[in-house]
Symmetry: D2
Subunit: 303 residues, 4 copies
């Protein structure tokens, strides 16, 4: 199982299911999600990302989630563990903890409360982490959450380091995405994290996808990757984009969990504050779009 | 020493000085900052806020900073400890740690990586923290860092809880500030955290100030509070606002540290990534504005 | 009747009433609005501003509206005519047309489709207009409509010209407002156009107000100007701010017209595209806030 | 010469050259630009758009520019005339004037000083114009200039009208672009106006391009259209994107004019306020990127 090769496929940024009574992590449901994804061809697993509500998990919970995912994946696919934090030592601790429980790589973001006052600040942060990281690193560009994008110059500088293997770009800015492809070495992985732009990203030199909505129809996402250059790719993309619209309104974790409940994969769409579940009047659009996604796919997911 | 009464005065959100060689906290310099402020009449101390680069400190470092400040203040003025985190348990741990080392109150923010998808999410977060907090709480509204403001409805609902005693508003939006005064109980403290709007906030019913630039001229800030309703207040405000302009460009911690170095209070303006120090061509404006601040004040700070 | 003195009071940015059948200007209704304002003590009239939907009026209609207002005001108060356009010649033509029908001054904005790529571009635009203007000019800062604010440096440079007598600031940014006071000559008028910040603006050295909501309760706005420095000023401001909230949601012209219909001053709240009237479910809040405004005032408007 | 067919190719949004002494339109230079474009294979001409600084032209000047372009094109390619205005009657007058001097179609935008308070307002504006327009219409989506995008629902509704034939999307948002393709009839033209996203737009079902930078290397843009689906398309796109970067910094008209001066097509890069020419330290990047563009093309432009 090769990490880079897997990331060139479809990686799912896993939800973290909660028990609605206790608000604790529902470990059985998390394992069911992993089963659902592996049985339906997902190439990589990314626990503790934005969709995984990492910022609502304690460090111990994050390690526990990663450990469970690694164990349950059992070497079938690589595990990219979210290791975001705002200090260098906490980021390194998160990476080390992920390494200890068997993760194959870690994803990091630029500091996100007070943000860089100059691009050099983010570069220095990334370099300090990369210098000590025991795992290969994927940068994660998500300016709506971090307040600032990773500047192209910063990316260009960091992308040449041996243990920085790629970037997940969730900016929704395809011009940025293509710049990332253009300014980084051939072997550096540029992955699309913005589901509504997956096909154009692949057509513009993107290497793979890390997409929350792959939870809802993993087989379709596999088909989409194969068909990205064909007319068929557009039909699949449009079905994905329709389910993406409520994500912009209600957030990725709430919508993805609602779709997984609708599909019978997890028992509850409970989220932790500051998120709230999708309100009643928002569910129908999600359920319809999920059903359409399944109907659009050529092959059915395994039950 | 009464907490609420102190917060009605001038509270300084303390910088965290670093040793430029080791990048460790410079504890002696931190104590010098505390001395400088106490000798010049500051009414409260707020370690581990945005100006204190809390997001670049580990939990242990934050507790250590708070402990040092409490010990060095030695009961002379109250200590409001920053306790921001993105999960309820980590926020509570930060509050408990601050309580253990003797802080009088704690300041909290809404979760700041993935933000609330509905105001109810932030309300629920604040309620969960307030339910268990061993210390009185001050809410901290700083949308440029957290991505979202604390909605007036959320504030109104939380402000009636006995252990939520006030809000520091650093939004720069005076309409919001007045709304906060208007929609909260008489005894709830509404504090201005945006230095360039201190006088208008006090004239609009504000209770006090929590201002980074009070580091640069503590005596002047004391004078400003007394003179806020007089013509003299405008002159003092304008001098403060001139030093505030570079803060918008370079950030609060870098500018405040540069001013403290210029005044000889701390030996280095070193910051941690993602921040970088004020570049050479930005220093002169800061030094000139600091000098003007000192000349504008009626009384001199103690050396 | 002195122009500068009038502008130090309350100037109303007049709505332009339309006949809902023909979509033509309802001239009788416009005269009724002028009567309503003059009888209740308004100090100046500003036709063809943002609230007057100037951008939905042809040049001929704008001249006609100004002419009607001048004639109906009959020298009782000065008339400041909106003369916004994106080219120097069209701006000058608008000013000249306003002068021809008797306006006392004109208000101008920076170009607003493609905006300045450097502050020097706006300065040059203003200088070209000021060089030829037959009327005294008031600059109008409204970045939500023009896309850019008038930079303080630009303002400082233009404010020294003899025929540029003041600025209406509708930015909602009180820091900007105070900077405008601070950086312009004593006799230069700095007027608050953002109704929810009228009292703080007056307390920070502002010279007067140009406020759409003065339509709804002109007498109260007169009282507010007198009481701005007193505790009473805050009570009046809060009542105004409550009616201001729906303006942010539905726009100034639609809300002001709805309030005028509620008060019986005009027969229809019809607006022109791209605006639409306040929807049914938004009216109650406007009517309640208008009634509260009238109850809060010490004196009643004349019927 | 078929209009729709031409728009499926490359249309140039023409600059309006000015004489730097008189600030008048340099008609000879404008004709030289048209010659340059026709000799190098451009399929359509779009005078009086954003790059044409339409907002800095009087209505008479706009008509004159369109007339000159029509005459000089002499039927070789269709002319799409910019007819943006903020009122229905002025928009219609601009369309009629363009029709009178021989334009083939007109481009319109939603009102842009005070913007729609609800999507219905823009729809009503477009419908009122379309009801009376003597020319086929192209909608023009450029939210950075108009303050608001044309909502997909509005577009979907208007796109079914017979005389509304397409949309130029300059938003830079490829998700929006694909939505426009998806929600409009097959024959409705969806044109990319954001040069850095031309290839991905064409790969996502776009029909053609309307791109300012085609001035700088018309032959290359023709080649790009043909090669959009091939690997070669990416190389051409990247060269275009490099010249696009300074457009985001200095504006389209200033950069395009600087490139045309560098190429010897026009004598001066003079612009009208609120724009200023590219400063000296910005020119080299533009000249280098223009040279690279020419070197990247397989065929040379005619001299």
């Amino acid at each position: 199982m090769d990490l880079s090769r897997a990331l060139e496929g479809m990686t799912t940024p896993l939800v973290t299911p909660f028990d609605p009574e206790s608000d604790e992590i529902d470990e059985a449901a998390l394992e069911d999600v992993v089963d659902h994804l592996l049985e339906n061809g997902i190439d990589g697993l990314f626990p503790c990302g934005t969709t995984g509500e990492f910022a609502s998990l304690t460090p111990d919970e994050r390690t526990r989630v990663t450990e469970l995912v690694v164990k349950h994946a059992d070497g079938e696919v690589p595990v990219l563990a979210g290791a975001a934090a705002t200090t260098v030592p906490e980021t390194l601790t998160a990476i080390e903890d992920a390494a200890d429980v068997g993760a194959d790589a870690a994803a990091i973001v630029p500091p996100y409360f007070h943000t860089a006052n100059a691009p050099a600040g983010n570069r220095q942060f990334f370099e300090s982490v990369a210098d000590e990281s025991p795992l290969p690193l994927v940068l994660y560009n998500i300016p709506t959450c971090t307040g600032l994008r990773i500047e192209p110059e910063t990316l260009e500088s960091i992308a040449t380091r041996e243990n920085v293997i790629g970037i997940k770009d969730s900016s929704g800015d395809l011009e940025y995405f293509r710049t990332a492809v253009r300014r980084t070495p051939e072997e550096f992985l540029v992955l699309q994290g913005y589901d509504a732009l997956l096909v154009p990203a692949l057509r513009m030199g993107g290497d793979g996808g890390v997409n929350a909505l792959s939870h809802a129809a993993p087989t379709l996402f596999g088909e989409l990757l194969e068909a990205a250059d064909e007319e068929r790719g557009l039909i699949l993309q449009d079905a994905v984009s329709t389910l993406f619209e409520p994500c912009n309104e209600y957030g990725f974790a709430p919508v993805t969990k609602a779709a997984l409940v609708h599909r019978g994969v997890i028992p509850s769409d409970s989220v932790r504050p500051p998120l709230v579940s999708v309100p009643a009047d928002g569910r129908e659009a999600i359920e319809t779009a999920t059903d359409d996604l399944l109907e659009t796919a050529s092959r059915s997911d395994h039950a």
